[in-house]
């Protein structure tokens, strides 16, 4: 197996599962799932202009999270509604912009064969930043998931933290798009942490196990895919799903 593919996949697994802790804590699992689709029109545009799809995806996601952030602040529309509207519009735009339907399918489901050296470089660079920032803000992020009021009263700048969180989410999703694609990237932010949650007795353990399962799920997916001759993205998500089902039989919490 290509070492670059392995590196990118592992970094995606680690950063997604780390940030995933807060996606689950904040009960916005579907938001991250849906948000991942926003990347599609950006990817189409970057194909059109002949630049790396990561940039298009990231730009579209960033635009979307900033839009969501300001709309949520300025209007009374529910967070889910805003995300839902962005999502369907993006999907529709994606369909319009993608000239080649084969590329659309790749955008939706990822294709690790397309990973270039440049992708590896970006993944390592950005993955390290996302993971570091998540660790750095871990306490603040955890704090505001319990009670915004309490966090505010203790001087946590929750609006700014929220923006940082959304930008991190945009980074993670953009990173994972080549590996598992837009349709499945949401699952990669949710699955490892959901498995970990079923098995953990503390937040620290849940975070640790989440990253561990992020690495495990991605590695197993990469390993299994060629054996059964199935796409890597499908193998990763199915492995995660299977482990999640197993984790429901809580053996013993650690």
């Amino acid at each position: 197996m290509d070492i670059g593919v392995l590196a990118v996949s592992l970094i995606v697994g680690i950063s997604a599962s780390m940030l995933g802790v807060f996606i689950i804590l904040r009960r916005i699992a579907l938001v991250s799932d849906v948000l991942s689709h926003v990347a599609l029109p950006g990817m189409a545009l970057s194909l059109f202009f002949g630049v790396n799809v990561f940039f298009g995806a990231f730009a579209a996601l960033l635009l979307a999270v900033l839009g969501i952030f300001f709309l949520e602040k300025k209007s009374k529309i529910a967070f889910e509604t805003i995300v839902g509207i962005f999502f369907t519009m993006s999907l529709a735009l994606g369909m319009v912009f993608f000239e080649n339907k084969y590329e659309l399918v790749e955008g939706l489901f990822g294709n690790v064969k397309n990973i270039t050296n440049f992708d590896v470089f970006i993944a390592i660079f950005l993955g390290a930043i996302v993971t570091a920032v998540t660790v750095l803000f871990f306490r603040s992020f955890a704090h505001m998931t319990f009670s915004k009021e309490l966090a505010q009263s203790e001087g946590f700048p929750i609006k700014r933290l929220n923006l940082i969180f959304l930008i991190l989410l945009a980074c993670v999703i953009a990173l994972g798009i080549k590996v598992v694609g837009t349709l499945l990237m949401g699952a990669l932010t949710i699955l490892p942490v959901s498995i970990a949650k079923n098995l953990s007795g503390s937040l620290k353990m849940m975070t640790f196990l989440s990253v561990l399962f992020g690495v495990l799920v991605v590695s197993l997916g990469l390993f299994i895919a060629p054996l059964f001759n199935i796409p890597v993205s499908a193998a990763i998500i199915l492995t995660g799903g299977l482990l999640f089902l197993l984790s429901l039989f809580k053996f013993r919490q650690i």
Binding site: I24, L25, R27, V135, L136, F137, F138, R139, S140, A142, H143, T145, F146, S147, E149, L150, Q152, S153, E154, K197, S200, G201, S202, L203, K204, M205, M206, Q253
Partner: protein, 239 residues
């Protein structure tokens, strides 16, 4: 000595006023209750005092306030595995201390838990606590910042009667021992009658202010809550 003076406080959300012209003062070491029906604007007054909402009027501190805040129990995913220790550590001063807490912080957490009678709960998950136990944890958290004033927002729902009965004597004991002034939001007339030195009756606007035994007359209560609300004065508890 007066520690807090509130003068003509008005707080508005989106152009309509949630509370209007509230004035009261509070002496150091005493207990003040905000009393009023649901939606009367009591929590809004708290938020203004905490500096979370813009307001008109004056909130004057005669001593630098170190505010501890105990919110109403809040809603979170009960299945999230967060231990009491971790929940308390969210208060730690740096992110690193959350991951690698120095012994001093852990022993401080234990001390605070002992103060609220929750020493045995350190390694329990917060989702598994009874509402009364969780409230004690919230109080312990508020004590972490060594408050000289504690704001306590009484829960309206999911009240565990047994827990509730013991929480006010606990607050009074802590206020004496640690020397903080107490402001409580309460819906329970008996609690206000027994525990508060002063009461502010609020229903969007200021209805009354004074010592509960003097001003909580049947006439005043009728005005505050509508007809037919009475309360039973029970004998002073001796502890």
């Amino acid at each position: 000595m007066i520690i807090l003076e509130v003068k003509n406080l008005s707080v508005g959300y989106n152009s309509h006023l949630a509370v209007k012209n509230i004035s009261f003062s509070l002496e150091e070491g005493k207990t003040l209750a905000l009393l009023g029906p649901n939606g009367a604007g009591k929590s809004t007054i708290f938020k203004a005092i905490l500096g979370l909402l813009p307001y008109q009027g004056d909130i004057i501190w005669h001593k630098k306030p170190q505010i501890g805040f105990v919110p109403q129990r809040f809603d979170f995913d009960k299945s999230i595995p967060v231990t009491v220790k971790e929940f308390m550590l969210l208060h730690a001063n740096s992110n690193l201390q959350f991951w690698f807490p120095p012994k001093k912080i852990i022993s401080d957490i234990k001390k605070k838990l002992t103060l609220v009678g929750a020493a045995g709960l350190l390694d329990r998950k917060i989702g598994e606590l009874s509402s009364g136990q969780f409230q004690r944890i919230l109080i312990a958290r508020a004590l972490f910042g060594r408050p000289n004033i504690l704001l306590f927002d009484e829960p309206t729902a999911d009240i565990d009667i047994e827990g509730e009965m013991t929480i006010y004597p606990l607050l009074r004991k802590l206020s004496k021992e640690l020397g903080f002034t107490l402001i409580i939001i309460s819906h329970d007339l008996n609690i206000v009658y027994d525990f508060a030195d002063k009461v502010v009756c609020v229903n969007k606007k200021m209805m009354c202010f004074g010592a509960p035994k003097k001003i909580l007359t049947p006439k005043q209560l009728n005005e505050l809550y509508g007809e037919g609300v009475g309360f039973y004065v029970h004998h002073e508890h001796k502890h």
